[in-house]
Amino acid sequence: MLEIKPIFNSLLRSKAGALMLLVQIALTTMIVSNAASIIFDRIQYLSQETGYPEDEIFSFSVMSFDKTLDLTQKFEETETMLRNITGVKNAGLFNAVPVSGSGSATGLGLQPANERGQDSRAAYYMADENALDTLGISLIEGRNIRADEVIESQTREVFPKVVLLTKTLADELFPSGDALGQTVYFGDTPLEIIGITEKMMGPWLKDSRPDNVAIIPFVGASTFQKIIVRTDPDQRAAIMRQIEDIMLEDQNKRVIVGLRGMDEAKEMYNAADTLMLRMLVVLIVVLLSVTALGIFGLTVFNINKRTKQIGTRRALGARKSAIINYFLVENIIICSAGTAVGSIAAIFLGQSLLNFYSLPALDILYIVFTVVFVVIISILSVIMPANRAANISPSIATRSI
C-alpha cells in the first residue's frame, strides 16, 4: 500500500540528493537539540529568583574626596537624609550590592580559622540594622540586628558579635537545622547566629554557592562607599533621577557613580548569557527555516524531474493521494534515517560539550522533541510541492512520447 520498497529502490538510484537531505536533517537534529538544551539551561538561570524586590531597589557608589571629613558621621547624616525622602522605604551603606558581580566572600567555619579544616563559602554584606528592610528580605527565624550591635569603625579592630545567615548557609553549616543561637567564626572572630533569613542571592549569581549569604552588622564608611535604597516601585525612577543632586547638595566634595536599579544591575551581570541565549534562538529558528526550505526546494526539483513519470502514473490511474503519499513516504524515509543519525550525533556532541566545556548534560528529551519537530517541519515542507505534483495533468504523459 505504502509502496515503501519501490520508493526505497528509486532513492538508492539517485543517492546523492537524498543523502544531502539526510545529512542536513541529521546536522539539524544534532544542532537544534543541543542548542535547545543550552537555551533552556540559560532560561532557567536567567529567570531564577534572587529573593529581592528588584524593581524597588537601586544602588550607587559615592566617592568622597574631602579627606578632612569625619566620614562615619557624615554618612550617618546622609542615611537619615535619604530615609526621609518621600517614597523611600529605607536606605543604607553596604560593602557590596547584591547581584552586581562585585563584593566580598569568606569561609565561615565552626572553629576559628587557624584550627579548622572545612568551611562554608559565604558572601557577606556589611551593613546596619536597616539592612534586611532595605533589601526587602524577611526573617524566617530569630530576630533582626539591634542598633546597639552595629559596629561603626574605619578599621576592623573592633568587630561585631552577631550575624544573620540565609537559610541555605545556616543549613550547610548546621545540617541538623539548629543553627539559631550557635556560633560561627569569621576568621578568628566568633559571631552568634541571631537570625535566619529567607533566600537571597549574594553578589555573584554564578558563584558555586550563590545564596550562601551572611549579614554582618558593621559599617565602615570609607572614601568609596556603596549605598542601597529601597523605594516604592513606581517612585524609583523619579528618585533615581534626583539622587545625584540630592547627594551633592548634602555634601559637594563627592562624586556619584554607578547609579542603577537592581534589575538593571542583574541584567548587566547576565549580559553575556542573555546574548548567548538570543544568538542560539536566532540560530535555531534560522536553521529550521533553512532545513525546511531545503526540503521544499529539493522536493520541487524532484517533482520537476519526474513530471513525466508522475503524468504517466496518473494516466495509468493513480489517485492524487497516491502521488502525495509517494513524496511523503520518500520524505519520511529520509527524515527517519536523518533524525536517527542526528540523534546519535547529538548525543556525541552533547557529551563533547559536557567534557570540554562542562556545559549541562544533554537530556534525551531534547532529542526526542527535536526529532518530532524536525519530522513535522519536513512533512509540512513536502506537502505543498507534493500537492502541486498531484495536480499534474495525466495528459503530460502523452505529450512528447
Binding site: 546523492a16 540528493g17 544531502m20 537531505l21 545529512v23 542536513q24 546536522l27 539539524t28 544534532m30 544542532i31 543541543n34 542548542a35 543550552i38 566617592m63 574626596f65 574631602d66 579627606k67 580559622a113 587557624n114 578599621t155 576592623r156 579592630e157 576568621g187 578568628d188 572614601t223 568609596f224 566634595k253 563627592r254 562624586v255 557613580v257 548587566m268 549580559a271 553575556a272 548569557d273 542573555t274 546574548l275 548567548m276 538570543r278 544568538m279 542560539l280 536566532v282 540560530l283 534560522v286 536553521l287 533553512v290 532545513t291 526550505l293 531545503g294 521544499f296 526546494g297 529539493l298 520541487v300 526539483f301 524532484n302 520537476n304 524531474k305 560539550l353 566545556y357 562542562s358 556545559l359
Partner: protein
C-alpha cells in the same frame, strides 16, 4: 572565457529564479550567522600587540602553602602580593619590567567650572610605556628619579586631556586626584586596543585607564586596588601597612624578555627568589612554582574567549555545514536537470574541463552573491550583539580581514559544495542525450 562563463551562470540563475534565490539565501544566512560569531571570536582572540606579544610576559608566583587550591587550571594565583611585586619591580633584572595595579580617583581642577568626576587610573612603573608601546602626543613618561622619589606625577590620555584642557598641551599643568595635586608629565595617544590584555583580571574588554601614575605612590598615598584582592590564609589585616605586608594577592606584574636566553635567566632568577622566600618561612612549598606566560598564552590562560563564544562558533560552522548540504542537494538537482543541454554542448566539442569550470564559475557566482548578502546579514547580527551588551561595542564589528573573509568563505564553501555536482554533470555522455533529440 571567464566572462562568458559568468554570463552563462547569470542566465542559469535567471532561468531558475526560485531555486537560485533559495541557494543564495541559504549561503547568505549561513555566512551571516557564521561571520557574526567569527567576528566576535576574531576580535576577542586577536593578538593585541602582534609585533611584541612574544616578548611580554605576565609573571605569576605561587607563594601559597602546598595543597592550597586556586581556581586557575594549575593552582597558581593570577596576581602577586605587594612585597613580591615590588621586589621584582626593584630588581636589577630584566631591563624592562613593571608592577601594575588598577585604582581610581576623583578628578578635578579645584575650581567651579569643572564638575569633579571619577576616573580609573593605573599604577605602573615607567617601563610600562615602552613595554606596551605607548606613544605620547605631548611630553613623556616620568623620570626614574620621579618614580623613585614617589613624585605625584601623572600621564593622561588624549581624551582626558581634551576634557580637562580642551586639547592643548597640558604638560606641566596640575590636576587634582582626590585631594592631591598631581603634575601632568605626558599626554598619551589614545589606546585603540579592544582587549585590555595587560589586566585581564577586571573585565578583559574594559577600556584602558585614562590616567597612569607611578606604582611607588601606592605605599605613601595608601592607594587601594580597584581590582580583585584575594587572600588564601587567615591574616588579621586591619591597616594599610598590614595589607602591604600581607600575603594577599592584588598586583599584577609584567616583564619584557627579548631572547630565549633572557627568558631562561629570568626563570632562574624567579626560581632563586622563590627558594629564598620559602627559606624565610613565608610559605611551605616543596617545589617552587611560577609561570611566565606571553601575551597570547596569558589570554588563553585567562579564558578571554569564553566557552560560550567557542561553543557558538562551533555551532555556527555546523550551521554553515547544513547550509552547504542544502546547497549541494539543490545544485545536484539543478545541474543534473541540465544534462540534455550539456550533452549537446559536449557533442559540439566542449571539453569536460570546460563544462566543469563553467559549473564551478556558476557556484562561485552563487557564493559571491551569497557572501555579499551574508555580510549584510552579519552586520545585522553584530548590531544585535552590540545592542545586548555595551561590552561588545568594540568587539562586535567586522574589521577588514573579516569583511574579506566573508565572501572568501562563501565562495570556497560553494565551490566545495559544487565540486561533486559539477563533476557529475561534466561526465555526461553526449550520446545518450543526442538520441532523444
Amino acid at each position: 572565457m571567464l566572462l562568458h562563463y559568468i554570463d552563462l551562470s547569470w542566465r542559469s540563475l535567471k532561468r531558475t529564479p526560485l531555486v537560485s534565490f533559495l541557494m543564495i539565501l541559504a549561503i547568505a544566512v549561513g555566512i551571516g550567522i557564521t561571520m557574526t560569531s567569527l567576528s566576535v571570536y576574531h576580535m576577542m582572540s586577536m593578538d593585541p600587540i602582534p609585533q611584541k606579544s612574544k616578548q611580554l610576559f605576565a609573571v605569576q608566583l605561587n607563594t601559597t602553602d602546598d595543597g592550597t587550591n586556586w581556581w586557575t587550571e594549575d593552582n597558581v594565583p593570577l596576581q602577586l602580593t605587594y612585597k613580591d611585586a615590588m621586589a621584582l619591580h626593584n630588581a636589577e633584572t630584566p631591563t624592562r619590567k613593571t608592577a601594575s595595579m588598577r585604582s581610581g580617583f576623583t578628578v578635578h581642577l579645584n575650581n567651579q567650572e569643572l564638575k569633579p568626576f571619577l576616573s580609573d587610573a593605573r599604577l605602573i612603573g615607567r617601563d610600562f610605556f615602552p613595554m606596551f608601546e605607548r606613544d605620547f602626543v605631548y611630553g613623556s613618561a616620568w623620570t626614574l628619579e620621579q618614580e623613585n622619589s614617589s613624585a605625584p606625577v601623572v600621564v593622561i590620555n588624549e581624551e582626558l586631556n581634551d576634557r580637562l584642557f580642551g586639547g592643548v598641551s597640558s604638560v606641566g599643568k596640575q590636576v587634582y586626584l582626590d585631594d592631591t595635586v598631581f603634575t601632568i608629565v605626558g599626554v598619551m595617544k589614545q589606546w585603540d586596543s579592544h582587549t585590555k590584555y595587560y589586566d585581564l583580571n577586571n573585565g578583559a574588554f574594559d577600556s584602558p585607564e585614562p590616567m597612569f601614575i607611578p606604582i611607588t605612590l601606592v605605599a605613601p598615598m595608601q592607594i587601594a586596588s580597584w581590582g580583585n584582592n584575594n587572600g588564601w590564609k587567615h591574616e588579621a589585616v586591619t591597616t594599610f601597612e598590614g595589607q602591604l605586608q600581607s600575603e594577599i594577592f592584588w598586583l599584577q606584574f609584567w616583564a619584557e624578555l627579548n631572547t630565549t636566553a633572557e627568558v631562561q635567566s629570568y626563570r632562574n632568577y624567579l626560581q632563586a627568589y622563590l627558594e629564598e622566600q620559602g627559606q624565610l618561612g613565608r610559605f611551605n612549598r616543596a617545589v617552587p612554582e611560577f609561570n611566565l606566560q606571553n601575551v597570547n598564552e596569558w589570554m588563553e590562560y585567562n579564558n578571554v574567549v569564553t566557552t560560550d563564544n567557542k561553543v557558538l562558533l562551533g555551532l555556527s560552522f555546523l550551521f554553515l555545514a547544513v547550509c552547504l548540504a542544502n546547497i549541494l542537494g539543490l545544485l545536484l538537482g539543478k545541474f543534473l536537470r541540465r544534462a540534455p543541454e550539456i550533452g549537446v554542448r559536449r557533442a559540439l566539442g566542449a571539453s569536460k574541463r570546460q563544462i566543469f569550470l563553467q559549473h564551478l564559475v556558476e557556484v562561485s557566482l552563487l557564493g559571491f552573491l551569497g557572501g555579499l548578502l551574508g555580510i549584510a546579514i552579519a552586520q545585522l547580527g553584530l548590531w544585535g550583539v552590540r545592542s545586548t551588551s555595551n561590552e561588545y561595542n568594540a568587539l562586535a564589528t567586522m574589521d577588514l580581514s573579516m569583511l574579506l573573509a566573508a565572501p572568501t568563505i562563501a565562495i570556497s564553501a560553494c565551490i566545495i559544495a559544487g565540486l561533486y555536482p559539477a563533476w557529475l554533470v561534466c561526465r555526461t555522455q553526449p550520446a545518450i542525450y543526442l538520441k532523444t533529440q
